[in-house]
């Protein structure tokens, strides 16, 4: 992978250097150098968009997707450099250009952000120690909920005490209902852990030995659910960032082509 990044960076530097050199020559000949940077930029944007097409054509030997990703990331960085060269500023004038720039930056930052989020989340997901398929999470949570309710019912029946049941209705039922602590998990806070510990501590003193046995089973399930919640949050964000990046990329492509069309029409 490192070798491919080196190769992609080398290619990017050669392209950037070549474009800058030719633009310089064009300036000397009083030609419009923005044409070159603009079309290079457009070509690069199309190339970056082709990565998604490659994913759909998985049956064809069009290089490995990992190679495409390397060139996609480095190409994205080259893109922003060429954008600055093309506009000769980081924030161009004109309403249309500003709109184009906003979309451009959104695509760029969502791409870079998504790249690092995915890399980071992959390790966080592994650290949970369990593996859950995203689409299976509702079924897994439902199963945990059923098991927890069965434990509470059995506890009530066996011990003739409703302490655990009341505590469950007041606190844990909310927790088991659906994925919880989405944002704290995303931001790396330990709210779920603290919440569970507090709710455990608040009731343990009122339980006898038999009830404690049942309650510990509940806590085990709650701990498992906490891990599944983590999977839900991290996998969810891993998928959803693309819902920002992809539509914006399509928008950028359309608006860029419109920009080229306008430039060419007015050039006549």
């Amino acid at each position: 992978m490192a070798n491919r990044y080196f190769l992609a960076c080398l290619v990017a530097v050669i392209i950037a250097g070549t474009v800058l050199y030719i633009m310089d020559q064009m300036e000397l000949n009083l030609a419009k150098s923005e044409i070159l940077s603009g079309y290079t930029l457009l070509g690069l944007i199309v190339f970056l968009g082709a990565f998604n097409v490659r994913k759909k054509l998985s049956m064809l030997p069009l290089l490995k997707a990992s190679t495409w990703l390397v060139f996609h990331v480095v190409g994205g960085l080259l893109c922003i450099f060429l954008f600055w060269v093309h506009t000769a500023s980081i924030w161009p004038d004109g309403n249309y250009e500003i709109a184009l720039s906003i979309i451009f930056y959104l695509v760029f930052f969502s791409g870079i952000g998504g790249f690092f989020i995915q890399k980071s989340n992959a390790i966080k997901l592994t650290e949970t120690g369990i593996e859950v398929i995203y689409e299976r999470i509702p079924a897994e949570l439902s199963e945990i909920r059923e098991r927890s309710e069965a434990i509470v019912l059995e506890c009530t029946k066996t011990t003739s005490s409703d302490t655990v049941a009341n505590h469950y209705i007041a606190t844990l039922a909310w927790y088991f209902k659906r994925p919880r602590f989405y944002w704290p998990t995303l931001l790396g806070h330990g709210n779920a852990k603290t919440w569970l510990r507090n709710n455990q501590a608040s009731v343990t003193r009122y339980l006898n030995e038999e009830e404690t046995g049942y309650f510990n089973q509940l806590i085990e399930l709650a701990e498992l659910k906490k891990l599944i919640d983590e999977h839900y949050t991290l996998q969810d964000i891993n998928k959803k960032w693309l819902l920002v990046h992809l539509p914006l990329s399509v928008g950028l492509l359309i608006i860029s082509f419109w920009h080229v069309l306008l430039v060419e029409v007015f050039a006549i």
Partner: protein, 554 residues
């Protein structure tokens, strides 16, 4: 009152022998075969009524004629049938092997570029759709693939000059080891003169061996006579010996089998898969009495560590055990520490050839350099380095040749691999991104294309088979009857049964019982796709690999 009509697509449930080995086999052919000495000796009354001897001969065999020089089997091919010579004689090329170019190895069918692209619009958007017309009794057999795929060697005298060969004559059986042992053909065989052979596909051979004592004995004896000599010729330590010496060595070799041939049935039930349950082949601290050559299956090499045993490596077909210690004992006769440094246990099932120390002293040690102490090298690794190896052996993942392993620290759980697999296979992925994990590794539920593909045991039609080159285990959808034997046999739950439907998505059902028609599906390594496994190419993070654990853990 509203009348509800339910339209059902029906299909006659496929049966064993729906697709006979050769649909041109006649009753007269069967009668002729029953008169042949080797078959006449079979006690037909020992066979159950549903698998009669006549039925086997009619459906699981075919008579094939070969012209002088024609190749019958090629070394390295995965074949699913054995041959009985009815007429003529054949020549086995022992050593050195014939070059691939002479053998005319054919390439497997791959889609062309445009054919691959056309999947985008030709594939049905509904999963697992099939054309019902393709199923049912089919015309198969020798005539179908006759002259077009045969290769005739022109210059046989040159082959005889350059290669060591042996002749086998009328009445001899060969190819049974590859057919039953699920291993590649060990030698190339060609017709020495115009010959007629009875080709028996492995299902039929399995039944003959199971129900007839004479054939069982013959198959076992053939193993010693042909396979062992061929094997010894391949082993570097023995390949300098001449035919006479090889025969002497072969005569003194002992065959040993540890564990169960059907190891997968007990493996699925066992909770404790540690080495404690494995049959011991050689014990650490004991004195070695012979070289152990693994012929088939796997063995675990472990050292005593604390109160348990630490797995340091595993041995597969072609690996040896004890060479260093035996050589050391031969060189240093006065050394007090000549005992084995590791314990060898059978993982599931292992076929071992024991070559006595006296044979090695006479034929091998004077001609070789001091062997490397492989065990010492392995023991030298850290304990944590062995964790993955230990786990792979315990879970039998070592059986895999193309195990799908994912680095979870790289995997972003995007499921691009699953989508790519579905795109290449009738809209339904052939694996699940789910499985057993250790550390940051996940072995996904994808066919591992095992060295010992136990899924092939018991397939009544031979639908699940090895591809002719490369050893990829694939399922012939046309002959699969959806019985689920392979799925039940697979110890790793890597084969799924799916209900098939017509192009409109209506599920196909049996016309008699109205039960759904099922087909077994699994990863085929995208064997018909031009780019190879789509899952590997689709992973944008290089998290997914197809590996052989031996290489992966080394």
């Amino acid at each position: 009152m509203v009348e509800i009509s339910v339209k059902q697509n029906t299909l006659t449930r496929p049966q064993r022998w729906d697709s006979p080995f050769d649909s041109d086999m006649t009753k007269a052919d069967v009668k002729k075969l029953l008169a042949i000495e080797e078959i006449a000796a079979i006690k037909a009354d020992r066979f159950p009524a549903r698998i009669s001897l006549e039925g086997i001969l009619q459906n699981d065999t075919r008579i094939v004629a070969f012209k002088k020089g024609e190749l019958v089997v090629r070394e390295g091919d995965y074949g699913n049938s054995a041959f009985l010579i009815l007429k003529g004689s054949l020549r086995i090329v022992l050593s050195p092997s014939l070059p691939g170019a002479i053998l005319g190895r054919s390439k497997e069918h791959k889609r062309g570029f445009f054919d691959a692209v056309s999947q985008l619009w030709t594939s049905n958007w509904l999963p697992e759709t099939r054309d019902p017309d393709r199923y049912g009794p089919t015309k198969t057999g020798a005539a179908k693939n006759a002259a077009s795929t045969r290769i005739i060697l022109q210059d046989i005298p040159a082959i005889l000059d350059k290669h060591s060969t042996a002749t086998i004559n009328q009445g001899a059986l060969f190819g049974e080891l590859a057919a039953l042992g699920r291993i590649p053909r060990t030698a190339t065989v060609l017709a020495d003169e115009d010959s007629e052979l009875l080709e028996i596909r492995w299902q039929g051979l399995r039944e003959l061996r199971a129900y007839d004592e004479g054939w069982r004995r013959m198959i076992d004896e053939r193993y010693r006579q042909t396979a062992l000599i061929a094997h010894l010729n391949e082993v570097p330590e023995f390949n300098h010996l001449n035919d006479e010496e090889i025969q002497l060595v072969a005569d003194q070799c002992l065959f040993e089998t540890y564990g169960s041939f059907d190891w997968h049935t007990s493996f699925k039930k066992l909770q404790n898969r540690s080495e404690a349950n494995e049959p011991v082949i050689a014990r650490q601290g004991d004195y070695p009495d012979g070289l152990l050559m693994v012929r088939a299956g796997f063995a675990r090499e472990a050292v005593n560590h604390g109160t348990g045993k630490r797995t340091v490596t595993y041995l597969g077909a072609g690996d040896n055990f004890g060479m260093f210690e035996l050589h050391n004992a031969w060189v240093n006769t006065n050394d007090s520490n000549l005992a084995l440094g590791t314990t060898l246990t059978a993982v599931g099932y292992v076929d071992v050839i024991r070559v006595p120390a006296s044979v090695l002293a006479e034929f091998v040690f004077p001609n070789i350099d001091a062997p490397v102490n492989m065990a010492e090298q392995s023991v030298g690794k850290s304990q944590s380095n062995d964790t993955l190896m230990q786990w792979a052996v315990d879970e039998r993942f070592i059986n895999g040749r193309q195990t799908m392993i994912m680095d979870l620290n790289k995997c972003v759980r995007c499921d691009d691999c699953v989508s790519a697999c579905a795109a290449a296979h009738d809209g339904n992925p052939r694996f699940r991104r789910h499985g057993k994990t250790i550390d940051h590794w996940l072995v996904a539920n994808a066919c591992m294309h095992c060295a010992d593909p136990v899924c092939m045991i018991g397939c009544p039609t031979g639908a699940i088979h090895r591809s002719l080159s490369g050893g990829t285990v694939i399922i012939n959808d046309d002959t699969c009857i959806g019985c689920g034997t392979c799925a039940n046999s697979c110890p790793y739950q890597n084969i799924s049964l799916v209900q098939i439907s017509d192009a409109k998505g209506n599920g196909l059902v049996d016309d008699q019982t109205h039960r759904p028609i099922m087909k077994a599906t699994k990863c085929d390594l995208c064997s018909d796709q031009i780019g190879g496994p789509a899952c590997v190419r689709a992973c944008a993070h290089d998290a997914l690999q197809r590996v052989d654990f031996k290489e992966f853990t080394s």
